[in-house]
Symmetry: C2
Subunit: 230 residues, 2 copies
């Protein structure tokens, strides 16, 4: 999977950085260091000064790659959505049956990221936790509209579009495919957060991953008005 991912140029929209961090050693240290540090401190307490100290560089050097810590968060989110899109794509490759395709895609979307598939230079497990707790802050801002115009959220939209297509392949008359899938994606993240911090807002069950089971049941029963799904 790393081979394909790295062979695709520009997984992240170039409006989010001043200089491509993948292009230099320092750039990669900035991205990796920021993942470690945001994971550790949370986005609010994370600063470029602390990051610079961690990676043995200077604040000014970090600013040469990212205009602001908000743009860095956009970068990380965007990277994550691209990665997830490939993960979904891979999970359905060579699978022909429509329901099977959707089921696999949903699993890819909702399962907990625990193992480092890390052939790449990014720690996906930490990035997953960051996305759960911080990624909504990337778009819940006054600058969404402008950033959206620059295509910053394209990766996310592509992912939603891809899985929506799988829904429509099963039920072409279903009216809310994007709503359904964005509900699943954001919901699955949120339920993980609730399970860790506000458990009364969710349900945890022994012996199964309740998040995966719930969203699978939810999607299939919602789209199949009068059909059955095993």
């Amino acid at each position: 999977m790393d081979i394909i991912l790295s062979s695709i140029r520009q997984p992240v929209n170039d409006h989010v950085y001043l200089k491509d961090p993948e292009s230099t050693e320092l750039g990669r240290r900035i991205v990796n260091g920021s993942i470690d540090l945001i994971y550790e401190l949370g986005f609010e307490a994370f600063t470029f000064r602390k990051l610079a100290e961690l990676i043995g560089s200077t604040e000014a050097s970090v600013y040469r790659y990212f205009e602001s810590k908000h743009k860095l968060l956009l970068y990380l989110s965007s990277w994550y959505w691209s990665w997830m899109d490939y993960k979904v794509l891979f999970s359905i490759t060579n699978i022909t049956e429509a329901e099977d395709r959707l089921e696999r895609a949903l699993l890819a979307l909702t399962e907990e990221v625990k193992l480092d598939t890390n052939f790449l230079h990014i720690d996906e497990v930490k990035l997953y936790q960051i996305v759960i707790a911080e990624s909504s802050k990337a778009y819940l801002t006054r600058s969404v509209d402008e950033e959206n115009r620059y295509g910053v959220f394209t990766a996310y939209k592509n992912l939603v579009a891809r899985v929506s297509e799988l829904v429509l392949a099963i039920n072409p008359t279903f009216k809310y495919p994007h709503m359904l899938i964005s509900t699943v994606i954001e919901g699955a993240h949120l339920q993980r957060f609730f399970a860790s911090h506000l458990p009364r807002l969710t349900d945890t069950l022994q012996g199964e991953d309740a998040v995966c089971s719930f969203y699978r049941e939810m999607v299939f029963s919602t789209i199949q008005v009068a059909q059955d799904h095993a």
Copy 2:
């Protein structure tokens, strides 16, 4: 509705304020002013200094009511969840049929707040928009666990518990009632945000409120495995 709401003391957990803003004229101006200003500027650009200027007071005076702007956001969120809980309670009062009860509760949860039911001193329409764009920032922090221990999120949990009961009244064996309802609540807010700013992540339809319709269909098909719902 105002009579009942105001007759219930402490709709908001007292850990979020230093001094109850409902107890004084200045306190009420702080709350109302903050709603106007956060609505206008967004939570990031909102400061106590600007608020003080708006309401003709001083920064130090605002700090006598709220320890931080984060606590003020917790206050506003908590107020909103209590208000929503009463809205749901009212919508199902005297309704006996289980499916009808759930349907009405879901409508209360997902419908757009457009009219000021404002007998009260709070502008619910603006508060609704604030909750959509900012309320997740109230719990997506490093201090959630501690704040949760102080009962800051009780109003939200009560709301989820109340509607979950309505789900269980229809299908007592349904395994994920809290997950379902918190998915609906957060999802409905998010879809409103997407409709305004990232429309490719949602679906809008003419002549119907797609958010309400979608979540109604979703909930009923998910909980009724082999039943029908008109």
